[in-house]
């Protein structure tokens, strides 16, 4: 990065400390940072630290808690509902992310073809991501209704089923139903960002491969995938983080039911902390999510470093 030339104004005679301060890069920089840093410290860094502290206290809503060390974590480790929520979160994240990636990449490749009305198609594809999640989740809730589900109705009319599916009443049905809703919501993000990555791959690479007689599959395997892998890593990290900490879809469609079968760690911490009033215990549950998030971020970070290094770039 080029170094800024020292401002030429430096030779001008300084009249006071005040004007001199305004020419100092560090002082000015600090002034410009004030609004952002003030908000981020008060409402991001401080709560993050407070969250760690709350997780080690027995604070109730409206009361002052006292320090109890790792007591919350000890009681959570014996709590079967907590472990169920951990299982659900991992299940939800793994299956939703895999399918989102597969459909997203496929959709991105399709959108990268020569198509009529390409930009309009792309705008339409992104709609599920734009519309407020809670509001589209309400639509899914209605689609999964036990008596008036349109999916069941169509399947019965087609002669595939004989009775209505109990989408949200049965634990496994409910788990797959929320995974499907999450896939619906996440595919556009994956597809459009991967499409942006695809469009930066130079066509001359494909031309060269064509001249060498590469098949479609070989072109995909040896040009598209390697060129796309850095952006895939970033997109999937974001996608995994958003899925792992998801709250809105579950809270709207099932509220964690039936019998806690779809509770994620985020919804369980809300239920314990806000609905139940045990702020300390809820904070401990959200803190338990942090190791997973850090692991996901580090994994993709080091993956990226490695692929950059392999391609001969400096880190």
């Amino acid at each position: 990065m080029a170094v800024i030339a020292e401002p030429v104004a430096a030779q001008v005679k300084r009249s006071s400390l005040w004007t001199r301060a305004f020419e100092s890069r560090n002082f000015l920089g600090a002034m410009f940072m004030v609004p952002a840093i003030a908000i981020l410290i008060l409402f991001l860094a401080y709560p993050l630290a407070l969250g760690f502290w709350l997780g080690m206290t027995d604070t109730k809503i409206g009361g002052v808690g006292r320090f109890i060390g790792f007591q919350n974590f000890v009681s959570l480790s014996k709590d079967s509902v907590f472990w169920l929520s951990v299982f659900n979160t991992i299940f939800y994240t793994v299956f939703a992310s895999i399918v989102k990636f597969a459909i997203g990449l496929y959709l991105a490749l399709l959108l990268n073809e020569r198509l009529p009305f390409k930009s309009m198609v792309r705008a339409i594809v992104l709609l599920p991501f734009v519309v407020p999640t809670v509001l589209s989740a309400i639509a899914f809730w209605w689609i999964y209704d036990s008596q008036f589900s349109i999916i069941s109705w169509v399947l019965i009319k087609a002669g595939i089923l004989t009775h209505y599916i109990d989408f949200l009443g049965d634990p496994w049905n409910a788990r797959w139903s929320v995974v499907l809703a999450n896939i619906w919501r996440g595919v556009p993000f994956v597809a459009i960002t991967l499409l942006a990555g695809l469009q930066t791959i130079s066509p001359s690479l494909y031309e060269a491969a064509n001249l060498d007689g590469a098949t479609n599959m070989q072109r995909f395997r040896h040009i598209t995938l390697p060129m796309l892998s850095p952006i895939i890593a970033v997109v999937m990290t974001f996608s995994v983080l958003m899925t792992f900490t998801d709250f809105q879809l579950i809270y709207t469609i099932t509220r964690g039911g039936p019998i806690n079968a779809t509770h994620l760690m985020a919804t369980l911490s809300f239920q314990r902390a806000i609905t139940g009033g045990n702020l300390g215990e809820g904070a401990a549950i959200s803190n338990a999510m942090i190791p997973f998030l850090v692991a996901a971020i580090l994994l993709s970070f080091f993956g990226l470093q490695r692929s950059r290094w392999q391609q001969g770039g400096r880190d």
Partner: protein, 291 residues
């Protein structure tokens, strides 16, 4: 970064239509059907009278025999929906402007003033972007309560920037980086202050970036749910997503018509805004990922 729109290899005119139909149009059509169906279903339910909604034998559920505005009327006149809409607008607009102001200043300082340690601050702000609201809402609830902001618009206006500022700053840093230094140096020689440079040179040149960040920030705050659910308790202070999910369901009686009407009318403003600024929105979304 070069964008190549047409990367076809130049021989696909040889591909026959039926083959391309099977390979491209059919799967594309199926995926788009899957992505759009919930919206269709939302719209159909909104305008369907109750009698048709619960009778699939007599009426085809995919069509509306007698369209009605009854659900929308009920929503607007029998519930606090207009207030929720108003709150959502106020909160989204204010938090977007606060975030844009703070981010423009911060991004300019990090990219252009390059004060000591600006690289690390930039990195720290990006890390802030990775902190999800679902691990912040419990301690934030305690803070909001202590500050006496509980159950008011201000609680949301001040907390939404926590996820908007990192995003906007990161995006704007990318845009500011593309503006040549020489322009600023010229202005410095002519005696402009840093503030003048920011307002008269950097900002106008990076207007597309500011619009992208603003549009994206606005839709993010319009969609926000977990903070609004936690920090707001009385009906007249709720935002649309929270109001719809908490106030339109009485016990076991779901007013599906009104719920779908709320979902539809709550989505329309962001969709309209989005349709005007698709390119900006997409560049904000992909820009944040591409670094």
């Amino acid at each position: 970064m070069t964008t190549v729109d047409d990367q076809s290899v130049g021989m696909d005119y040889l591909e026959s239509f039926p083959k391309k139909f099977l390979r491209v149009y059919l799967p594309l059509g199926l995926i788009i059907f899957f992505l759009l169906f919930p919206f269709y279903w939302m719209a159909v339910t909104t305008f369907k009278p109750d009698a048709e909604m619960y009778d699939y034998e007599k009426y085809n559920p995919f069509l509306i025999a007698h369209p009605t505005l009854e659900h929308i009327k009920k929503l607007f006149f029998d519930t606090d929906y207009p207030l929720w809409m108003w709150n959502t607008v106020i909160v989204s607009v204010s938090s977007t402007f606060i975030s844009l102001f703070a981010s423009v200043c911060a991004a300019y300082a990090i990219e252009r003033l390059r004060y000591t340690g600006s690289r690390y601050i930039g990195l720290a702000i990006f890390l802030g972007y990775l902190v999800p609201p679902s691990i912040l809402f419990i301690p934030l609830a305690a803070i909001v309560f202590q500050l006496g902001l509980f159950d008011g618009n201000l609680a949301l206006i001040l907390t939404y920037p926590t996820f908007l500022i990192p995003f906007c700053t990161w995006l704007l840093m990318g845009y500011f980086r593309t503006i040549p230094y020489e322009l600023e140096e010229c202005a410095l020689i002519d005696g402009a202050t840093r503030l003048q440079i920011l307002v008269k040179i950097t900002l106008p040149l990076s207007l597309p970036g500011v619009i992208s960040a603003g549009i994206f920030a606005f839709t993010l705050s319009w969609n926000e749910f977990i903070y609004a659910l936690t920090f707001i308790s009385s009906s007249e202070n709720k935002t649309i997503p929270v109001g719809a999910i908490t106030e339109l369901v009485n016990g076991d009686v779901y007013h599906w018509g009104a719920l779908m009407a709320a979902a539809l009318t709550g989505s329309v403003p962001v969709v309209i805004l989005y349709s005007f600024f698709v390119e900006y929105y997409v560049s904000a979304m992909t820009g944040a990922v591409k670094e």
